[in-house]
């Protein structure tokens, strides 16, 4: 567990794990994010990115979720090593 820091979800590298710290989206975006299980305290792992580097794929709660980079910007995470 080296390299602990708060960053946005966009910056996660493939294979890197992180804990969700804060979600700053409200309205429809926020609702959708929460409906899919992205809430503070949840552990996620970056699974990779689409061929054009966007969207990003995440693993959380045993399933895979994908969201666009500009949506990932709403989510602050505490990253750990890979």
């Amino acid at each position: 567990m080296s390299d602990i820091s708060i960053t946005t979800l966009r910056r996660l590298k493939k294979g890197q794990k992180a804990i969700i710290k804060n979600i700053s989206a409200d309205g429809e975006m926020g609702r959708r994010i929460r409906d899919m299980g992205l809430v503070p305290g949840i552990q996620i792992q970056c699974m990779g990115r689409a061929p054009l580097q966007d969207p990003v794929a995440l693993r959380l709660l045993g399933f895979t979720l994908t969201l666009r980079n500009n949506e990932a910007d709403f989510i602050d995470v505490q990253a750990s090593g890979t």
């Binding site: 309205g27 429809e28 975006m29 994010i33 409906d35 299980g37 503070p40 045993g62 979720l65």
Partner: protein, 728 residues
Amino acid sequence: MQNDSSRIAIAGNPNSGKTTAFNRYTGARQHVGNYPGITVEKKEGIAHLDGIEITLVDLPGTYSLTAYSLEEVVARRVLSEESPPPGAVIDVINSGVLERNLYLSVQLLELGMPLVLALNMMDEAKANGLNINVDRLAELTGLVCVPMVARKGEGLDDALRAAVELAKKTGGKVKPLEISYGTDVDLALKEMTPQIEEAKLLTANYPARWLAMKFLERDEEIVRRATEANPELSAKMQARGEALAAHLKSTLKTYPEAVIADYRYGWIHSILKNGVLKGADDIAPDDRVAFSDKVDSIVTQKVLGPLILFGILYLMYYVTIELGAIPNDWVANFFDWLSGVVGDVMSDGPLKSLITDGIIAGVGGVLGFVPLIMIMFLFISVLEDSGYMARVAYIMDRVFRFFGLHGASIMPFIISGGIAGGCAVPGVMATRTLRSPKERLATILTAPFMTCGAKIPVFLLFVSIFFDAHRPLVMFSITLCGWAAALLVSRLLRSTLIRGAATPFVMELPPYRYPTFSGVVIHTWERTWQYIKKAGTVILAISVLIWAAMTFPSPTPEDEVAFEEQRAAITSQQEAGTLTEEEVEAKNLDVDNDEQQLHLRHSVAGRLGTALETVTGPAGFNWQTNIALIGGIAAKEVVISTLGTAYALGSVDPEEDTSLADRIRNDPHWTVANAVSLMVFTLLYSPCFVTLMMIKQETARWRWLFFSLFFNLAFAMILSIIAYQLLK
């Protein structure tokens, strides 16, 4: 409202195996329709249990009941407002993703639904070392929990039996689950609930505390309807919500709906932690997920991903066209034979003409493409059910976003004929999964540019005449042209008529699965049946209408007399011995042809087609083509059959069995330029009537129907004229 214990709803997340369970329960005894006013698919089926019939209502797959999408609104309405309401709900849960799946369950409980938790895919969860204590879950939630493996049929009867018993016992409603959402929210709810209760604001269908919560969550649908029912109280409730929002923003920098969601997850988490779930703290992908990850590392890889994607699309395309041609010929031959038999039996006259030229030719032309469409839908079902379709959206989103669309736009595009052979009717309907109104509208309006199954006969005919050596290549290019038109027009629309920012993409990538045979078959059959129904009703009516338009009004008696005089002249010349037998026959044939020609030109369709020649001339269309294209606005399927009828009615020699292809090949009017121009026009011009009606239904605006009709006509006309003028 009396509930019905023999009416059970099935709820669940997408990819939870809900559809598999529903198919297992009902088999082929399904009825697919639409909910009135909205366009979400309504699926009902009959299941048999212990000798009684039970109606199962398959709710749309949703992650939540927050009214994020039309599906969620529908699910909510079916549960609380439909008459009779379901007596109980079977909540199908993917046991491997228990925590997220229970988020929907919590909301069902908040709504006061009697719930049976069907823990599906228990076998996989167990095999992967996930230890779910079902009894403990039942104990803590107070719910009936049934382990299930829907694919193998395990636990299905248990779940259904439990649901029926629950429905009988509870009468369809239980006390809504009331969990704490934290001090601030709880306080607000405590103030609001009695007021809502007292005013009976929507409480006939929904629990008062739930309604109060919807005000706090700023649920558009409930707020709107509450405002209609009681504007004063609704304003007051909204104001209380605003006060809470302001308070939470200043103290915790958060939003009411976020707090409520956090507490729901908290409730779930506390239950799972309390001896239900063991050893699931860390992210431990199970075998299936691990396998999916391996596949994804190849399938979504930078270079390989797109290559594989286009490879699969092209393969599908190639197999459909090549394999589909074989049964297509069988069906076409059958209708030729039928037409011949009927023609021999019946005496000449309008009725024979109606049956052979109108009905058999029209319907035969449509049904001939059923095998092709079945193969196509079989492919699409496999792609959807296997989970690959979601990867397609994932890979393509960046590109689609550039055109103002959504990665999920690819689905409606593909169904509409993005992989040639689809149909814009289900395609336009498939846009319902798109939450963003603007991206959805752009998709609806541009999906009809795709190469739908009904346009394919036109392309096949002309490609086989003019580009026979390069059939697959040319057909593939046409499909790409459809894509180019759809994307460019979409970009145009999104920067003019439907401007606005993009909406959330957030989407699940389900683990890969082998599609089940029954699932694929049912899916394929549903869609094929949709097509056949269209053929049997709309197209039959249109065939008859078009036949009538091409037959009536008949020429005036004076015109007929002129032909009789010509024939008499030929006969007298023959008697005088100035003409040989062959010359007589040829001259008579000419007269007959002229007469038929006059008949058709004199008809409603002929007059319209001729009148339009001045407009369509620059695109190289003759009056026969015009008639066929007019028919095509009614339904693209009739373009070829109308063209066939137009030429067949011009011919009188029944022994001379030239097919339409030969006729066009030998007609000096038809050149490559005409053919390309017609193909461009067919690809891009007005959607068919049924699609137009769907556009109206899906957008709820007549203006988009008329926009599609006139914009596409003008767009196609301009491009056809350019194509013809360049090539001629």
